[in-house]
């Protein structure tokens, strides 16, 4: 069974301790077990770009969609036997120590091909042709009722264009499980019984030329009208030695927006005539 692990700032964030950050060993273990489909770290929310379409007008803003949504710092997609195995894996991720891990099952579609996976098996072998963005699809009551359409046509179009690498819909938050580790003890909690107004309903991984194209792709998603879309650039681990050195290097760019501003991106979009 496939799960998305979302690394989110929980309600009791702990001080980050580099000595406790054994993300390398965690990844190695996942690889060795053959349960990992894909995983990425995301640039902080300062680099988020929010895309909405309201009344036919494209609204793009710098920064995250702020209303009561957790900040997601990264994600993994795993394929394991059951929820207990997913919890066990989630509980050993450093994010479980410093924040919390949200374990979300994917929507299981009736009539899906047996053995079908969220992430194509050959993805790792494909050359990277552009910039990759995670497109978070956020369900929000502020959207237009008629915008909640079937994204099937969007998926076909973006797959054909090569702009979408994979993606899927998540089960609602009530089916989520939250995992934390405090003082060595694994704490497992149920998802919210009463659903929040806004929640991450799914995500897609885009591969595009630049932020302008990512915005254009996002704006065509039906949930741009029915909810909110948030674009997040990836933040690959770089070559700055161990994680302590990496932390020192990254601290300078952590709170800085490296992406073009929404205005610049919109201007680029207009100039390209898209």
């Amino acid at each position: 069974m496939e799960y998305a692990l979302l690394y989110a700032e929980g309600d009791d964030p702990q001080p980050y301790d580099p000595a406790q950050d054994d993300i390398g060993a965690w990844v190695d273990d996942l690889e060795a077990r053959g349960v990992s489909e894909y995983g990425e770290r995301l640039r902080p929310e300062v680099d988020a770009t929010t895309v909405r379409v309201r009344g036919g007008e494209l609204l793009v803003t710098d920064g995250p969609f702020s209303e009561a949504k957790e900040s997601i710092g990264g994600f993994d997609i795993i394929d394991v036997a059951d929820l207990d195995e997913a919890i066990e894996i989630a509980s050993r991720h450093p994010a479980a120590r410093f924040a919390r891990v949200e374990v979300r099952p994917f929507m299981q579609w009736p009539g899906a091909e047996p053995g079908a996976r969220v992430v194509p098996r050959d993805l790792a072998d494909r050359p990277v042709r552009g910039r990759r963005y995670l497109l978070l699809v956020i369900s929000s009551p502020t959207g237009e009722a008629d915008g909640d359409g079937d994204p099937e046509a969007w998926v076909s179009e973006m797959d054909a264009r090569g702009a979408r690498l994979f993606g899927d819909v998540l089960r609602p938050p009530a089916d989520a499980t939250y995992v934390r580790r405090r003082d060595g003890e694994v704490l497992v909690a149920d998802g919210p019984f009463v659903e929040a107004k806004e929640w991450v309903a799914g995500f897609d991984l885009l591969e595009v030329r630049d932020l302008a194209e990512a915005i254009e792709v996002a704006s065509k998603h039906p949930m741009a009208r029915g909810g909110v879309l948030e674009l997040r650039p990836l933040w690959p681990f770089d070559e700055h030695g161990d994680h302590v050195a990496r932390l020192e290097h990254e601290v300078e760019v952590r709170d800085v927006r490296l992406e073009p501003s929404a205005d610049e991106a919109l201007a680029a979009l207009a100039a390209a005539g898209r």
Binding site: D82, L83, D84, T177, V188
Partner: protein, 433 residues
């Protein structure tokens, strides 16, 4: 009335009794096994309930079968098969299931002690344990865990559970449906946790049982002080889990705790349903069999070094009360020491309150009053009626009726149930006499 056991008006008493026995002994086993082999909770529940309904219809005519459990199991299996076939489940899957079930011999026979044999890798293979651990999975909200455990393991009807928890029936039904959906959608496994996870997950199971117990033993609201149906259900379920996990100290401790408290149930209220304090209870009205069973369970507990688990400590405290021939003979210093230990493993203002009372009775009212005043100063029990009630009682014992009366008045104003209010009013009145 438990699910599927309606000894209706026309049912001969011996058939009703046989049905009830079969229900108590077989419901959880039949349902748990059906869920394992079909993977479908709803089909399994309907089939299990259907088997008991069919028994109620045919046993009066044909007589009670020689092995009622096997009869019910076979009937439930056939009903489940029919349901699956009608729902269009592939014939192949149904055939596989039948072959598996028959090869394992689980579905066709009476209770099989081999179920309890430990296997490599997994501690115990009994299907009822799978059911218990799945219903109490930490990914489910606590109210859902309680409801699902009562519904599936206990076989209670949704309406009964709704009444017991003062929840509207449709809301309770929804809670159970959502829990079952989450089990399917979130991939909650139907199995006994791995040895590494077992202690933690067992704690989750015990928390569910303890919650059912507490809800039944001391109603959190309403006019009835005790709801014996729920307390009895908690004992039945805990007895089941204790039987399935005989090596677990905490399960036996919890069962002992429940039995020793339940033994006093009849003496705990008077004929008007009002509360009778422990020291005023007629000890001859305590249930001798439950006391004996509870005390015998305590004897079986290992000599674990302190600090022991909260269940163990609370059971030991009940044991001290149960062993006292009368209220005056109660070993209060021993109880005060147990509360010291409880405070180290599970500190809470409620433990401090009980410890203060025990110290007051062990070492003189002044000692207890001192602790209670300290506790009151922290403000952590503000609004809780038992704090002024304890102050009142110790002032009374200290020969300070004025101070006692003032605290009783505070306690009466805060008491959440009518019986507790009446009890405090009587204590206040007795002060004046």
């Amino acid at each position: 009335m438990p699910n599927g056991t309606p000894p209706g008006p026309g049912l001969p008493p011996e058939v009703g009794a046989a049905l009830r026995r079969a229900f108590e002994g077989e419901w959880a086993r039949i349902l748990a096994t059906l869920i394992r082999v079909t993977g479908d909770w709803d089909v399994s529940e309907e089939a299990a309930a259907g088997a008991f309904e069919r028994a109620a219809a045919t046993w009066p005519r044909d007589g009670v079968p020689r092995t009622p459990g096997a009869w019910l199991t076979t009937t439930a299996r056939n009903l489940a098969l029919d349901r699956l076939r009608r729902a269009g489940v592939e014939a192949g899957k149904v055939r596989d299931w039948l072959a598996d079930a028959e090869a394992e011999g689980r579905l066709s026979g009476p209770p099989d002690p081999a179920d309890l044999v430990a296997d490599a890798g997994e501690p115990l293979q009994d299907d009822r344990l799978r059911l218990v651990f799945t219903c109490a999975h930490p990914a489910l909200p606590m109210p859902s865990r309680v409801a699902l455990t009562l519904r599936t393991v206990g076989g209670l009807e949704t309406a009964e559970i709704a009444r017991a928890f003062f929840v509207a029936e449709p809301a309770m039904a929804q809670r159970i449906v959502r829990a079952k959906r989450k089990i399917a959608h979130a991939g909650i496994p139907y199995r006994v946790p791995s040895p590494a996870d077992l202690p933690e997950r067992l704690n989750g199971v015990l928390a569910v049982l303890y919650l059912i117990w507490n809800e039944g033993y001391l109603a959190s609201s309403g006019d009835r002080l005790q709801r014996l149906d729920l307390a009895g259900e908690a004992i039945r379920l805990t007895r089941l889990v204790a039987g399935l996990l005989p090596a677990e100290e905490d399960v036996r401790s919890l069962l002992a705790l429940m039995l020793l408290q339940h033994a006093r149930a009849d003496a705990r209220t008077d004929e008007r349903g009002d509360l009778v304090a422990l020291e005023d209870q007629d000890r001859s009205a305590w249930q001798a069999d439950e006391l004996a069973e509870g005390l015998a369970l305590l004897e079986t507990l290992p000599a674990t070094p302190a600090p022991r688990s909260p269940y163990r400590i609370q059971a030991e405290i009940q044991g001290v009360h149960a062993r006292a021939a009368d209220a005056a003979a109660t070993d209060w210093p021993a109880i005060a020491r147990w509360y010291d230990e409880l405070h180290t493993v599970s500190p809470s203002p409620f433990v401090e309150l009980n410890r203060a009372i025990a110290r007051g009775l062990a070492h003189g009212p002044e000692r207890g009053l001192h602790d209670l005043r300290e506790l009151e100063r922290t403000g952590r029990l503000a609004g809780y009626h038992l704090l002024p009630a304890a102050l009142a009682d110790l002032h009374r014992r200290a020969g300070e009726p004025g101070a006692a009366a003032a605290q009783y008045a505070r306690a009466i104003a805060l008491a959440p149930t009518a019986p507790e209010r009446r009890y405090l009013e009587r204590r206040l009145a007795a002060l004046v006499d």
